[in-house]
Symmetry: C2
Subunit: 224 residues, 2 copies
């Protein structure tokens, strides 16, 4: 074996986050345009190199803030990517996270993101990305589909007030399939995750929809 290759110095760690949202029934991912080599001008997921004085998750959150201005986002680790040649500069192993942002925050962020060369892309219109980020994105999306059925991530994907038809549309967007309205309502309400606000609001339909909010404390529960 080549002595040089056996080196385990000159290694580094990337912390990469695929940030998702759902708008108008479309699942979207946040991408940032690179301003430096390598991959100058290419779109990539938010992330960068881990510093020595920070834990992985804090590194991932710092990168998100530096690259997009987004604070207070919940993220969850889901995989590691370590192919020998995944970075052209030096040996980098990427620890990958997913995060979600609710549709209210998306509106607020839109201006901030414009100034940082970041934008939302529908997941079926993602261009070829720098590094191995297309591969990471594919796995992130699978993970999102798994995680959406557990209530904790579901909560952070959703604003404070929402109707059940809205919620169902987000599910259908992420899972990419139609759900039965009656069974969906039954399931969500039986899980005891949400409470009636007493208010109603009109959305797409003509009949006003009841508004719900998530209860304060919800534990990890399977939805489907």
């Amino acid at each position: 074996m080549d002595k040089k290759n056996k080196l385990y110095k000159e290694q580094g760690v990337h912390v990469i986050t695929a940030i998702f949202t759902v708008e108008q029934g479309i699942t979207k991912v946040l991408l940032v345009k690179r301003k430096n080599e390598p991959f100058l001008g290419d779109w990539i997921l938010t992330g960068g190199a881990l510093y020595n004085n920070e834990d992985l998750i804090n590194g991932a959150k710092r990168e998100i803030f530096e690259k997009t201005g987004i604070k207070d986002i919940e993220i969850e680790q889901f995989d590691v990517f370590g192919k020998v040649d995944r970075s052209p500069v030096m040996r980098m192993v990427a620890v990958a996270y997913i995060g979600v942002i609710d549709s209210n925050k998306v509106q607020i962020l839109r201006e901030t993101l414009r100034t940082s060369n970041a934008d939302w892309f529908p997941i079926n219109k993602v261009p070829p990305l720098g590094y191995d980020h297309n591969e990471i994105l594919v796995e992130a999306l699978k993970e999102l589909q798994k995680k959406i059925v557990s209530s904790t991530i579901l909560k952070s994907l959703f604003p404070t007030c929402f109707s059940l038809p809205e919620l169902q549309k987000v599910y259908e967007a992420i899972l990419d399939k139609k759900l039965d309205r009656r069974n969906f309502r039954k399931k969500i309400l039986s899980l005891d995750l949400v409470e009636d606000t007493g208010d109603t609001a009109k959305f797409e339909g003509k009949k006003p929809a009841k508004l719900y909010r998530f209860k304060k404390k919800i534990e990890e529960k399977k939805v489907f």
Copy 2:
């Protein structure tokens, strides 16, 4: 922020594997005694530093072979551990795997392992380990309990010939709970994973048990 701490050089990657087996109804993990600083003399999980010319899984397998002589083991990535101070020497991020070895191979390996300062420890009699390996082990065990219900890892945990009562005991050891004999048999047989060998053998009982083997091709299936 301290400039020195912001460095993302002087980082490295550990590849660590928790290798499990089940003997006489006891779930055991393979530990290796360290021959160097840091943690000289402490027991740790098998693993070490990733080289630059190998992918993560190959690095993990190489470390297993170097430290224990074990070849041809199937391993699966399950988590990453990256606390700032998890290694006292330099910043190391650990990519963690689990592997399983069937009870036949355990017998064959016993001699090899003795010469390499490695030994099987019942999981409730594991000493304080070097690095953060106790923490990794706890998570690995949870992961094993999750994975045991999918048929692929189940297969590698089992020798070619086995009786259903034996198989059930392994399940009960890993899941740490009793299962109903009739329901267990029904479930395993309905999954179409195993075939009757035609032979029988006596184990603990007085009535001879039918022997089964796994079918050649089995896909990922949920058992429980």
